[in-house]
């Protein structure tokens, strides 16, 4: 299964994760 997030945010939004990285529920994905 797959979950896709699509959202709008200001230009200075940045992700803290990279493609290929394992992630767990509750961990930070990104922020301003």
């Amino acid at each position: 299964s797959t979950i896709v997030l699509i959202f709008e945010a200001p230009k200075d939004f940045s992700f803290y994760v990279k493609p290929g990285q394992k992630i767990r529920f509750g961990e930070a994905l990104g922020s301003l």
């Binding site: 299964s1 797959t2 979950i3 896709v4 997030l5 699509i6 959202f7 709008e8 945010a9 200001p10 230009k11 939004f13 992700f15 803290y16 994760v17 990279k18 493609p19 290929g20 990285q21 394992k22 992630i23 767990r24 529920f25 509750g26 961990e27 930070a28 994905l29 990104g30 922020s31 301003l32």
Partner: protein
């Protein structure tokens, strides 16, 4: 062969046909791999080989929805207590499940694999990040992330799909009415509510052994659900690299609404054997039903007189789950 009774000849035919097509296809794939290797030896960067239309149609012709429902029905049969531990231990061993995190570690508690697939975790197993505005809604692996450009979303590096095919046409007509529709005003621009904002995406792949419930990734209000019945092709990274627009072919449930910066959406995409999607506050949702018409979708609005903007969801709150079947 000539003396064999007619029914054994007929019985042999389908086997012959399957072996011939399977063998022919395997040979074709070997030839493709050999061609790519030759290009690499010549130092030519081979682009990721995307499936051609006939390969996608061949894959889509496999009755994955029927197989998925059968798999779900099989795994809903209550196992005798003595059989639960061996069956579930095989699944745990095969997919590397970490039972220490499960709310209930005793395997006899789960009556079948479907119940085990819906297992909950110990609350302390997944602390919710209180500092950052967007958290991961589930366990999994990041397939791709970044800005959405020219209405195309990247499913894996180099392979994209259309934003409009994936989300379907706009739900709130006001936004498109509000803005002067000009030729360059694309679907994407109509989604973004502030000109100073951009559109971002993140694709998370859940492996068979992962915890399969999902939660709210931020504080937002869910105003609309759009359910697209569809195929149930595998969404593992290898297939995601091979079939363009894969997420637009598969059964999926799009939840959309708004957060503090504007538009926000979470889409749960079903996969082979995991065709059922549950959204806890959406009792009307029925996924992986036997009958559906191609390209159709059904909408549901959560805006009511009490909830003018939809259902408020807190970051980390339980939102839904994937189920076998």
């Amino acid at each position: 062969f000539h003396t064999a009774p007619i029914r054994s000849v007929l019985r042999l035919r389908p086997v012959h046909f399957l072996v011939a097509t399977g063998g022919g296809y395997a040979g074709y794939r070997q030839y493709e791999k050999h061609k790519e290797k030759r290009l690499q030896n010549l130092g030519v960067e081979a682009l990721p080989r995307v499936a051609s239309d006939w390969e996608v149609s061949l894959y889509k012709s496999v009755p994955t929805r029927l197989l998925s429902r059968a798999w779900g029905r099989l795994n809903s049969v209550e196992l005798p207590t003595w059989l639960r531990k061996p069956v579930l231990s095989l699944y745990i061993w095969t997919f590397g499940v970490n039972m220490k995190e499960a709310a209930v570690e005793d395997l006899h508690h789960y009556r079948n694999l479907s119940e085990f697939f819906r297992r909950k975790l110990k609350p302390q197993a997944r602390p919710v990040c209180g500092f950052h505005s967007v958290i991961s809604p589930s366990d999994g692996k990041i397939l791709s992330l970044g800005q959405v450009k020219n209405c195309e979303v990247e499913q894996v590096k180099g392979i994209t799909y259309s934003l409009e095919s994936f989300l379907g046409p706009h739900t709130n007509k006001e936004s498109s009415k509000g803005k002067p529709l000009s030729c360059h005003d694309s679907f994407q621009k109509q989604l973004v509510t502030k000109d100073s904002n951009e559109l971002y995406h993140c694709v998370i792949y859940l492996a068979p052994g992962d915890y399969h419930c999902f939660h709210s990734p931020t504080d937002w209000k869910v105003s609309h659900r759009r359910h697209f019945p569809g195929s149930l092709m595998s969404v593992n990274p290898g297939v995601a690299r091979w079939i363009k627009e894969l997420f637009c072919h598969n059964e999926r449930v799009v939840l959309s609404g708004c957060w503090k910066h504007g538009f926000f959406s979470l889409t749960a995409v079903g996969a082979q054997n995991v065709g059922s999607i549950r959204i806890y506050f959406d009792q009307d949702l029925r996924t992986n039903s036997p009958q559906y018409s191609k390209g159709s979708y059904n909408d549901f609005s959560f805006v009511t007189s009490n909830n003018h903007e939809g259902i408020p969801m807190r970051k980390g709150e339980h939102l839904g789950e994937f189920n076998l079947g």
